[in-house]
């Protein structure tokens, strides 16, 4: 009886929340388009302000660069918490890995995956992509290594210390460009004017490509550390 009452109560709560959401949507005004406000400004002047063809990258690393710094700090906080919680094991016990064919094929494919990751990072201001997306692709390499070759291989090639150094380097690049903004332009993380080049070339758009590279290192190393911390206990139990 008690359980039935509980379920009835929860169902009533669910229905009430659904109804409240529906009511909210009926009361909401229509979307008024881009004719006013910050979106119109960014679409009209974004290319001339920042030199970045990709307006989303312009918003992320120029207009809201300080917010992106806080975002990478959130990743750093998550990585720190996970490593702190799961930090008992010294060395991971290796899995056996997959078969010979899979290992050889991955050996051929891996440079291209890395190339694609660096391409997405470095062309963030010209085409879809950027530091976060490319960093995730780079972290995928580490994850595939752990699955296919076994975790000890990944440990030997790219040890957690190397990943920590890479993440720190990424954060320092971001902060260094921010401080250079104070010295050169008078505001933290403002776009460095002397780096601007012709629009559409690879080295253009002021400090945006460099921030992209820093964020790419940071996200890639951070996600690899998260994955690596999570698999250790599992491998010790299974093999």
């Amino acid at each position: 009886m008690n359980k039935l009452m509980k379920k009835t109560l929860i169902s009533a709560v669910l229905i009430a929340v659904t109804f409240a959401l529906y009511q909210n949507f009926t009361l909401m005004p229509e979307y008024r388009g881009l004719n006013e406000g910050i979106s119109d400004y960014i679409i009209t002047y974004g290319l001339n302000d920042t030199g970045s063809l990709n307006l989303i990258t312009a918003v992320l690393y120029d207009y809201r660069a300080f917010d992106s710094l806080g975002e990478s700090t959130v990743i750093f906080g998550a990585v720190s918490g996970i490593v702190l919680i799961l930090s008992r094991k010294m060395l991971p016990v290796s899995s056996k890995g997959l078969s010979f064919i899979v290992k050889r094929t991955l050996g051929i494919i891996t440079p291209f995956i890395a190339l694609f990751g660096f391409y997405v990072i470095s062309h963030g201001h010209l085409s879809p992509g950027g530091g976060f997306q490319g960093g995730v692709i780079l972290a995928a390499i580490s994850i595939i290594f752990s699955i296919v070759y076994g975790s000890a291989f990944d440990y030997r090639r790219y040890s957690p210390q190397t990943k920590t150094v890479l993440e720190t380097v990424g954060a320092l690049i971001f902060l260094g460009i921010g401080l250079a903004g104070i010295v050169m332009e008078g505001a933290f993380l403002s776009n460095l004017g002397f780096l601007t080049a012709e629009k559409g070339t690879l080295i253009s758009a002021g400090s945006i490509p460099y921030i992209n590279i820093g964020v790419g290192f940071k996200v890639g190393a951070g996600l690899a550390i998260i994955f690596y911390s999570m698999i250790q206990k599992t491998f010790e139990e299974d093999f």
Binding site: G46, V74, A78
Partner: protein
């Protein structure tokens, strides 16, 4: 409005999984489903059928879609991934201590 309807369905599915299920990993899945519903809604209501908001050199572009909600969604996705990883780590630790991930059967956390 179809996107509002889909948002409500997705969001309530996530909310259902968060409240009714007792498996903690299913709760995390429900939380991520709620996030995904919000991201879907933010992207879909700002889509006015224009072009992707990336300039092409030497071409006059038509009307762009709004770039600001897309940038905000990117921020939200990254933070959602971070919180999901931290929650799953806590569940792994909980499984080590109490041997279960069912939130009604957790015992022995007092000592």
């Amino acid at each position: 409005m179809l996107n509002n309807l889909i948002f409500i369905i997705l969001f309530m599915l996530g909310f259902y999984a968060l409240i009714m299920k007792t498996n903690l990993i299913k709760n995390v899945i429900g939380l991520n489903l709620m996030e995904a519903a919000v991201f879907f809604w933010v992207i879909s209501f700002s889509d006015i059928g224009g072009e992707i908001s990336i300039h092409k050199l030497g071409e006059t572009m038509g009307e762009f879609n709004d770039p600001v909600p897309q940038a905000l969604t990117l921020t939200g996705i990254v933070i959602g991934a971070s919180t999901a990883a931290l929650l799953l780590t806590l569940i792994i630790e909980l499984n080590k201590f109490s041997g279960t991930i069912d939130r009604d059967k957790i015992e022995g956390l007092n000592d």
